[in-house]
Symmetry: C2
Subunit: 329 residues, 2 copies
């Protein structure tokens, strides 16, 4: 029986709980019996060693905005026995907290951890890997990059034996939405940003996306996980999309190019995030909020994966795939 | 120590031998010690229980067109002990032979099999799966569809927990080359076919590709492996690309569409291969000899994988990924 703890009960945590509940029969065929024995959010929690009624927990959270007990996550980690923590608290790429502490404490207990949280990995990748090794625990993080796209497992396992020459991709759906709308409708950045904010595709303060911060954080995670380097966020040369004009698209179009925010790192090269010209018929010239990643290797040559970069069930899909990776029969 | 037998020593078999030789140090980190104890082609073989000198075997084959001994593959299967057979003989989608017999005999000895050969899977998928179960052996076939693209493992494992609604894709690089050249250069089918034949992208007798036979075979494999159905080659409704005119592209272009040969199956639907209109900015509107597959599911929604559909090292990449799947630590 796999005992699961969920830390963070916002959209992603709730999405995971819904899938664990709705697909119990299918998932138990894949990984064996499981139960969720603890759920926490930033100020409350629920614990049941016999397995939480997820439907009830979701209802309480939605109605009251919090769970039943006021026990905090750190106490829950200390007092509960679980095999795997699903850590889905909000990202802070400067401190990694609160997720970083939750992940470390869980790993040090010998529990595995699955996270969708970029912060801890950006801040402390090598340290976390060392803790994993020392405590014989695993940390999986498919959901941190590219939403539902199984990029990390695909490269690590399915392109195993390949030497990776470069990683290049569109890692932020908000920027891609803005750029592809500017391209198609010949509108200004400001105009499309406002529209994206109305559609909730962009945040009120869009800096995290449009300045390339989110893309750079994801690039750091991909590079460290797949290219065996130890790059930090500050190593990424970063230019956002705020200065791109409709005229730039016009000039590009004359030569059959468009402009996309590309995150890239070559073997032995420096990581960078910047607007780049992409041929219109190139697989990276995708439109809308999709993400796309190109991996160049010696044997497989170029392999692209394209998919949803965000969303509640999409992120749940990546987290479930990590569960299957850990416990799949 | 993993004992490997290679059946078939044309381009693919030689490509695998080269990678097993060149990347020995890296691969042994991934799967542990291995040696190739038998290699056969259609009329000759080489056996060495202590491990064949692959460099020597490649040299002999290239110089003489055959190997050292005249022992046939069936004898080799009977007389040698191996853990895994890499079956890479030519495809015959009507009989599945000679690969089908080699695969069955190997599985019945309890050996695992990795194949790049569509024939046996198209002819006898269910039977082969039953033999695997009975003899506790595994049959992996990533290399049969989409060359280097790890589509089968990606869907089976990394989208585990997802319900598959449909599979849709471009599974034949020759057709895609012809169609994308017709689109770009406004040339006739006949003109581009001749050009493709000169470039060795199309065969002298191109029927297998341009009539959609190869695409249909791959669709049968994908559907049976990923959607838990039991479809046969004759169930696939099939229209090739030979009747497509430059005018058809012109009409499509007026509405911002192009034409591609799409293989598709929906849940509970009928499989088909036919030329379809694809929006110009859609990820399936790829150019050149690339392959592309779109998987639609409940959680991840749409996930695309795009890559090289053929080639010696690309196919070797898929075969190596199956080796890692079987023996990865």
């Amino acid at each position: 029986m796999i005992k699961i703890a969920i830390f963070g009960f916002g959209a992603v945590g709730q999405g995971v709980a819904e899938v664990l509940m709705r697909k119990k029969r299918l998932l138990e065929k894949l990984i064996g019996d499981y139960k969720v024995i603890a759920i926490t959010d930033s100020k409350s929690s629920i614990i049941n060693e016999n397995g939480i009624d997820l439907s009830e927990a979701l209802k309480v959270k939605r109605e009251k905005g919090m769970l039943k007990s006021d026990k905090k996550t750190l106490d829950v980690i200390d007092s509960c026995e679980f095999n795997v923590a699903i850590e889905v608290t909000p990202t802070n790429i400067e401190t990694g907290e609160p997720g970083l502490t939750y992940i470390k404490k869980s790993l040090k207990k010998g529990a595995n951890v699955i996270t969708s949280n970029k912060g801890p990995l950006v801040v402390a990748y090598k340290e976390l890997m060392r803790i994993c090794e020392k405590h014989n625990a695993k940390l999986l993080f498919e959901a941190t990059v590219g939403g539902a796209m199984p990029i990390i497992k695909m490269v690590k396992r399915d392109l195993a034996g390949n030497e990776i020459y470069s990683i290049k991709g569109i890692l932020n759906g908000t920027c891609n939405y803005i750029l592809s709308r500017m391209e198609r409708e010949k509108l200004t950045y400001e105009h499309v940003l406002t529209e994206a904010q109305e559609l909730k595709i962009a945040e009120k303060d869009p800096s995290y996306d449009v300045l390339g911060i989110d893309s750079a954080a994801k690039l750091v995670i991909l590079a460290n996980a797949l290219m065996n380097v130890n790059i930090k966020f500050k190593d990424v040369k970063r230019v956002g999309i705020t200065e791109i004009t409709p005229e730039a698209f016009e000039v590009a179009l004359e030569k059959n190019y468009t402009i996309r925010l590309i995150s890239e790192i070559e073997k032995n090269g420096k990581p960078k995030v910047s607007p780049r010209l992409i041929p219109l018929n190139h697989p990276l010239a995708i439109s809308g909020t999709l993400n796309a990643i190109l991996i160049q290797t010696d044997l497989a040559k170029e392999t692209y994966i394209i998919g949803r970069g965000a969303g509640k069930t999409e992120t749940a899909s990546a987290i479930i795939s990590d569960l299957v990776e850990l416990y799949g029969k």
